[in-house]
């Protein structure tokens, strides 16, 4: 069993069925995102056009990062929609991880519809240099 756990670390997570059900957001859209790994952590870039600070929610848990964004813009009175390619639905992005994020050091910035999150790795998973004597 410990061998399986080491191959699939997610086995240490609570079963999906026991998790509390997600809030009802209605239909959601997975936004475009980029995730880059650096030595100290991960740089997450999420493209959320039309989302303001007030409509954005970032939740960092022990095993997942959840980004929820609501578009702030509402169609003004008198405007007729002729053709649509974007959606008004809520953006939702859930990324799971294996408890490797230092939750106290999460930094996020929303600018011009782009959310940049700096996720620091926990000390335990950082590469350590060992001096050979």
């Amino acid at each position: 069993m410990s061998l399986i756990s080491s191959i699939l670390p997610s086995l240490n997570r609570p079963a999906t069925a026991t998790r509390e059900p997600a809030r009802d957001l209605g239909p959601t859209l997975k936004p475009a995102y980029e995730l880059n790994e650096t030595a100290d952590g991960f740089a997450l870039t999420v493209y959320l056009p039309g989302v303001e600070h007030s409509g954005l929610e970032l939740q960092a848990d022990a095993d997942s990062i959840t980004v929820t964004g609501r578009r702030a813009w509402k169609k003004p009175e008198g405007w007729t929609s002729l053709y649509r390619e974007s959606d008004d639905v809520t953006y939702e992005l859930v990324l799971s991880h294996d408890n490797i994020i230092d939750l106290d050091k999460v930094q996020a910035e929303l600018r011009d519809g782009v959310l940049r999150v700096a996720l620091a790795k926990t000390e335990a998973v950082k590469p350590r240099k060992i001096a050979v004597s």
Binding site: A15, Y33, P49, V51, E52, W79, T80, Y83, D112, G113
Partner: protein, 147 residues
């Protein structure tokens, strides 16, 4: 032959108290599909700019999703009946600099738009271009008396 009712794997009552090693594997496979195959259906990787068109009495509006672009890097042109929107997104990381070009053209009939009065605004990563209609193109209300 007997029919056995199919229960969804994650709802199997056994899984909640007696942890079977396969519950983790199932979610792992789900995750694999979400991450690698989900991108085919999503917007990731595409460089097309989604646009919305609206109109009211006086103007036609083009709203384009251009997240993370500097105002100075947005160029809007009206050429030969096409409204061309082009922008470049520059991202700098510690070791490299990346520039992504985003372009989109929307067909706009010359006869319907006052080309010299086009304005644009950029807010929260969404560009709104306002194209004022020509007087001739505005809907005219004609009351016809019925004899």
């Amino acid at each position: 032959m007997t029919l056995v009712r199919y229960t969804h794997p994650t709802l199997r009552p056994l899984a909640s108290f007696a942890r079977s090693p396969w519950t983790g594997l199932e979610s792992e496979i789900d995750r694999l599909f979400q991450s690698s195959l989900g991108d085919f259906a999503g917007t990731t990787g595409t460089r097309r700019v989604p646009v919305d068109l609206y109109e009211d009495k006086d103007n036609t509006y083009v709203r384009a999703d251009l997240p993370g672009v500097n105002r100075a890097d947005i160029a809007i042109e009206l050429v030969d009946g096409y409204l061309n929107i082009s922008a470049s997104r520059k991202t700098k990381t510690a070791d490299r600099e990346e520039t992504v070009s985003l372009t989109r053209s929307v067909s706009v009939p010359d006869a319907a738009v006052q080309a010299d009065k086009i304005t644009a605004a950029y807010e929260n990563g969404v560009l709104t271009v306002t194209l004022p209609k020509r007087e001739e193109a505005k809907p005219r209300k004609v009351t016809v008396a019925v004899k």
